[in-house]
């Protein structure tokens, strides 16, 4: 019997997602190589990997965002594949292209697909071609005059969005005609500075909607399946705080429509790998907003309710294997919620709280999963994002999941940095949240409105 060639994946990321990819690689029989900056030399993912490479000093720009350094680490350690995780280089078409040009396999869609979905205006056109409803809006507007003409059609309030934007950045709300010129000028400047591309488009501002997104995975054999949806409506400044699957109270017919729309869009672009199609849902209407061409922070809740290892699926698909499941094999089981435990102080306007994890007692028990890149004694350094751990709970239904969440969050003891744990405990005790179906403005209205 001849042994299959060893697959060896470079994990081009840090923190919990690096640990997550290493685990999936090992369960698939692959080897995993970690990368680290100076600040992360003693990190957990370095310990868990089969091999590790230093890629530069602590600032992300000179390490995790340095494409040359990452590629050198991959070549030097004999990798066959590169997994980008999320954040950092994960949605840079240039990175995917350079990985491929170096003779390695990128774990994700092609550079062309990343590019076409990264251009939000182009993504809208693709969605329309696939028969997927989009938020009423304009094409790219060149200047303030074009914006005024488009605004008359779109109507107020509206959003000005950077065509190259993402992660909630580069978005401005415009409520009246008078605000438009100034907003276009500043949005253009901001978009140029942040994304190197000042292109803008307008979209109607849908204010009382839920953020519901569909997990899809496509393989190289033309198969695309969905793994149902997540509700990510609990947000602060367009950053997600907690997520749940499935979306509470979503009618079965609406679920069918949204999930099939997501599959149609992914199939339209020949999508390969794991991706997420995001929608706004208002009543029974839904609108495509964007597609994330990577694994997401909140993927574990989908894994919980569909009993699938999505990262392992990413690796298999990248190796040219067909999807391990057909759509009929994928069924929903129970409910899951993920809580992002960030080193931030909700009492101080979520100000970051770096420091040493003097104590780090993570919870466990039935239906509880904790994904973290840290152990007690680890450092939460100021260079990167503030995610310390994700507490993911699963139950037979939402009530059981939330009961387990309360227990798990109560058990989770972190000392040395301030975290968002207590905020999460207060959220799951909130009547409006308990009832299910809060919209994307709920959290901020709750924080600023009468209590």
């Amino acid at each position: 019997m001849s042994a299959a060639p060893t697959r060896r994946v470079l994990v081009a990321n840090r923190g919990e997602i690096a640990v997550r990819v290493i685990r999936a690689a090992h369960t698939c029989g692959w080897e995993a190589v970690a990368v680290h900056s100076d600040a992360d030399a003693d990190s957990r993912w370095v310990v868990l990997a089969d091999d590790a490479r230093r890629i530069g000093p602590s600032p992300a720009r000179r390490s995790y965002l340095d494409i040359d350094a990452v590629l050198e680490a991959a070549r030097d350690s004999g990798c066959t594949h590169v997994h980008p995780g999320y954040g950092f280089l994960a949605e840079r078409p240039e990175f995917a292209r350079r990985v491929t040009e170096a003779g390695l396999t990128y774990v994700g869609p092609s550079a062309e697909v990343i590019e076409s979905m990264g251009d939000k205006a182009a993504a809208r056109r693709t969605a329309e071609q696939a028969g997927v409803p989009v938020v009423p809006g304009s094409g790219v507007v060149a200047d303030a005059a074009a914006a005024r003409a488009a605004a008359a059609d779109v109507g107020f309030p509206l959003l000005i969005k950077a065509a190259a934007g993402g992660g909630g950045r580069g978005i401005r709300v415009v409520r009246t005609d008078d605000e438009l010129d100034d907003a276009v000028a500043t949005a253009q400047a901001e978009a140029s500075a942040s994304f190197g591309d000042g292109s803008l488009y307008l979209e109607r501002c849908i204010e009382n909607a839920r953020h519901i997104e569909v997990q899809v995975v496509g393989d190289t054999h033309g198969n695309v399946v969905h793994f149902f949806e997540r509700d990510c409506s609990v947000q602060r400044r367009r950053q997600k705080l907690l997520e749940e699957a499935p979306a509470p109270g979503l009618a079965a017919t609406l679920r069918d429509e949204i999930t099939s729309a997501a599959v149609r869009l992914a199939a339209e672009v020949g999508y390969q790998g794991a991706g997420t199609v995001e929608f706004l849902v208002e009543g029974q209407a839904f609108y495509f907003i964007e597609m994330n061409t990577r694994i997401q922070v909140e993927h574990p809740i989908t894994e919980m309710v569909t009993n699938t290892d999505l990262v392992a699926e990413q690796l298999r698909v990248a190796a040219g294997e067909p999807l391990s499941v057909t759509q009929d094999d994928i069924t929903l089981s129970g409910a899951a919620v993920e809580f992002r435990i960030n080193a931030e102080d909700p009492e101080q306007d979520f100000f970051p709280s770096p420091g040493e994890l003097v104590r780090f007692d993570s919870p466990n028990g039935p239906g509880v999963r904790v994904d973290s890149g840290f152990v007690a004694g680890g450092q939460i350094v100021p260079y990167y994002d503030s995610l310390v751990a994700k507490v993911v709970v699963h139950g037979r239904d939402r009530d059981e999941a939330l009961a387990r969440a309360e227990q798990a969050l109560t058990e989770f003891t972190v000392e040395g940095v301030v975290t968002t744990r207590d905020l999460h405990l207060s959220l799951i005790a909130d009547e409006a949240f308990r009832a299910g179906g809060v919209t994307t403005t709920w959290f901020e209205e709750r924080s600023t409105g009468p209590r």
Binding site: S58, P59, E344, F351, P382, Y383, Y384, S386
Partner: protein, 77 residues
């Protein structure tokens, strides 16, 4: 001599963005509350302001270097 120190840990930047000029040069006059740099901590940026008016004698830390809480950043005179 009085100094301006960092109220938080992070990475110190002397410019608002990589392609722009520094906020202030050595020898420049500053007024109380004037921004002299940025401190990045976990993707959040906070302005570092002069705690009093005077002349910036010198910066004690380099652009893009790491700061700890209370570390002196610049000398005022």
């Amino acid at each position: 001599m009085p100094t301006i120190s960092s109220p938080l840990p992070g990475v110190f930047y002397r410019r608002p963005s990589p392609d722009q000029e520094v906020y202030v040069n050595d020898g420049d006059q500053v007024t109380e509350g004037q921004t002299i740099g940025l401190i990045e901590v976990m993707k959040n940026f906070t302005e570092l302001k002069a705690t009093a008016g005077g002349t910036i004698k010198e910066f004690l830390v380099d652009d893009e270097s790491e700061l700890s809480v209370g570390q002196d950043v610049a000398v005022l005179e």
